[in-house]
Amino acid sequence: GESVGLHLPTLSVQEGDNSIINCAYSNSASDYFIWYKQESGKGPQFIIDIRSNMDKRQGQRVTVLLNKTVKHLSLQIAATQPGDSAVYFCAETGSTLGRLYFGRGTQLTVWP
């Protein structure tokens, strides 16, 4: 089956620094990828998505990069703030329509 993984379970950064969270996926047929943010005690919330016909997409302070050659996805957060502290999940569509396959998550901690 599909497998989505993250390289590091935890990441600590200083406030104001840029953060990079990585994710590897196994299904080369996946055509949609998404990043979620989950704050403590809440459900996951959409951050940004990207389709396989793109290699980069930018949002407000966030950028997602997709490298289909090595099946790698990353989330970049510019000028990280304490409010960015959360668990970040990557997900891909895989082979089952409508279903998302999730990675295990990276806990981002931002220090003042």
């Binding site: 089956g1 379970p9 055509d31 949609y32 998404i34 979620y36 005690g41 809440k42 459900g43 996951p44 919330q45 959409f46 998505d49 389709r51 999940f89 569509t93 329509l97 409508g98 279903r99 998302l100 999730f102 990675g103 295990r104 998550g105």
Partner: protein, 113 residues
């Protein structure tokens, strides 16, 4: 504002009890999902549904069942709760066509004693 609502944020049940977790979405989505979230294991799919009265097993369906009698409502049922079902349960909904994000509820934290 789109919404997925889970009926209970916190539940405490005893081993062997029957447990119902209810989820309602107001976005007219075809797909609904139940995930379980445990530390270090991420989100694992229990069951999902593409339409009313339809259900599909996810990766960890054992010990669970589901019901979808109406499009907006998807229930997760633990017929006989066990301590290893203590977890955070997340409901989500989304559209079938075109790929796209899932919208999540706030979660239901279940403790089985």
């Amino acid at each position: 504002d789109v919404k997925v609502t889970q009926s209970s944020r916190y539940l405490v049940k005893r081993t062997g009890e029957k447990v119902f977790l209810e989820c309602v979405q107001d976005m007219d989505h075809e797909n609904m999902f139940w995930y379980r979230q445990d530390p270090g294991l991420g989100l694992r799919l229990i069951y999902f549904s593409y339409d009313v009265k339809m259900k599909e097993k996810g990766d960890i369906p054992e010990g669970y069942s589901v019901s979808r009698e109406k499009k907006e409502r998807f229930s997760l049922i633990l017929e006989s709760a066990s301590t290893n079902q203590t977890s955070m349960y997340l409901c989500a909904s989304g559209r079938t066509s075109g790929g796209g994000e899932l919208f999540f509820g706030e979660g239901s934290r279940l403790t089985v004693l």
